[in-house]
């Protein structure tokens, strides 16, 4: 009697463990594919890209979609991702035409993230007094040098200065966390992850 209770108890525990494991496994799998349609090495094809490709093909086709059509879409997307990953590995991003696009995007991102969208009139007036008026009496300035007229240009100039400063600071931060070695008679000039 005791033995059967013991066996029953352990079978229940065993079944529960298997069920929990399966549940976790399924959930883990489902979570992996919430946003992605295909995982390829360290990259992925998003569901949005997959669905966009499916919609485009559906619109082009006169007949209903078949399995071969879906297979074609998945194959093409996988091929594109594989070529993209290969390109990254091979350093294609350093090719001038490609690098220019990426660098410009990065600079734009840094600028957007680190510069104010609008400057207050007080701030602009302060800059006006410091940089335009300097020590001259305000009344002596010609009409075209008035604050109201120069305000838009001051805002643009301020943004450019702020942008340039943000980029410089960002690059300094990048340099500090990088290893930059330059070649001069085979001696390393800069070294270490914190070279300054």
């Amino acid at each position: 009697m005791n033995k059967s209770i013991f066996l029953y108890f352990f079978s229940v525990i065993g079944a529960l463990s298997v069920a929990i494991f399966e549940l976790n496994y399924d959930n883990k799998n489902n979570l992996l594919f919430i946003e992605d349609a295909v995982l390829i090495n360290d990259g992925s094809i998003s569901r949005i890209d997959y669905l966009t490709a499916v919609t485009m093909m559906e619109e082009e086709k006169e007949n209903p979609m078949e399995v071969v059509d879906y297979q074609l879409i998945v194959d093409r997307l996988i091929e594109e991702e594989l070529l993209f990953q290969y390109g990254l590995e091979q350093g294609y991003i350093y090719q001038p035409a490609i690098s220019q696009v990426i660098v410009n995007n990065m600079l734009e991102t840094i600028a957007i993230q680190h510069t104010s969208e609008k400057y207050s009139d007080e701030k602009l007036y302060q800059v006006y007094i410091e940089k335009v008026v300097e020590n001259q009496p305000l009344e002596s300035l010609p009409q075209e040098m008035s604050f109201e007229l120069l305000k838009p240009e001051l805002a643009i100039a301020l943004k450019a200065i702020e942008r340039s400063k943000a980029v410089r600071e960002y690059l300094t931060w990048l340099r500090k966390r990088s290893i930059v070695a330059s070649f001069d008679n085979r001696i390393i000039k800069e070294k270490g992850p914190n070279n300054e």
């Binding site: 489902n30 879906y70 091929e79 990953q85 990426i102 600079l107 690059l171 330059s182 070649f183």
Partner: protein
């Protein structure tokens, strides 16, 4: 006690040696950073990514006012930004960059395959083109042409039976088309020779496939169609000719290169696929396996 003291001394000596060792050779060797001794074109490394003389020349050509150091710094800054963009995964989501990289990879692979051909002598190339030509004669053959009459029996109740009778009658008699003009339908394929593509376009796949399989002077079996029963008579057929190599040499070269390009890309993709870990979402996998 003595034993513990000995251990302490050894520990201190170890620490001292480590400290001295770290400063013993302050000029770090290039190899540690991945410099290639034989490659004198490398000017600097940014996180192991080499800056070459060519790149410096490129930058200085575009910015002639920049000094050597400023140019090197500019490239270094660009490299750092590129590496940061990659680290942040910005390239993955940027469609323009993605397409540009993929396009560049394809172009380079294709060029590599074509450049390999340039290393061959003219004689060797000619042999390859000829061998390609003979292995793919169908590519360099003119298309078959067809002239077709169609007899329609759509006004009769026992159309197919009648058409079968008509067919045997025509086959028994020396065929004089004029005698049966009344049964032949007026349609574009009846006059002159036409390509297989046009036959397909006019008749659809089902009938065209039958026509292509017929020989000159042959009648088809009665065929039931939406408009009734028909008989097809292939009044003329001109089989395609293989064009001589000299005449299609340019076409051979173009096709050969096209296949070379495709093969180069297919080979690369095959090897990338073989070495990749690919996992498809279960719901999509289900769609792909549904027959």
């Amino acid at each position: 006690m003595k034993y513990k003291l000995g251990l302490l001394v050894l520990f201190i000596i170890g620490i001292l040696l480590a400290v001295l060792g770290s400063g013993a050779d302050s000029s770090i060797r290039f190899e540690q950073f991945g410099f290639d001794h034989d490659n004198n074109d490398v000017l600097a490394l940014v996180n192991q990514q080499p800056i070459t003389k060519d790149e410096l020349i490129h930058v200085r050509t575009k910015n002639p006012d920049l000094s050597f150091n400023d140019s090197l710094n500019l490239i270094t800054d660009n490299y750092l930004l590129l590496q940061r963009a990659q680290e942040l995964g910005l390239l993955q989501s940027d469609r323009v960059v993605r397409k540009a990289i993929v396009h560049s990879v394809v172009e380079q692979i294709v060029n590599k395959a074509l450049n390999a051909q340039k290393m061959l002598s003219e004689e060797a190339l000619l042999t390859r083109y000829q061998s390609f030509y003979f292995s793919n004669l169908a590519m360099f053959t003119t298309a078959d042409q067809f002239q077709l009459q169609i007899a329609n029996f759509d006004n009769d109740n026992e159309q197919c039976h009648l058409s079968l009778q008509a067919r045997s009658k025509w086959q028994e008699l020396p065929l004089n088309e004029e005698r049966f003009q009344s049964l032949f339908v007026s349609q574009p394929l009846a006059k002159g020779l036409h390509s297989e593509i046009l036959v397909h376009r006019q008749l659809g796949n089902r009938l065209a496939t039958k026509v292509v399989a017929m020989t000159k002077g042959e009648f088809s079996d009665p065929i039931q169609t939406q408009t009734g029963c028909i008989l097809m008579y292939l009044s003329d057929r001109k089989n395609g000719d293989v064009l001589p190599f000299e005449q299609v040499k340019e076409q051979v070269i173009s096709q050969y290169r096209g296949i070379l390009r495709r093969n180069a890309l297919t080979d690369l993709l095959r090897s990338l696929r073989e070495n990749a870990e690919i996992e498809i979402a279960p719901d999509i996998k289900e769609v792909l396996t549904n027959e």
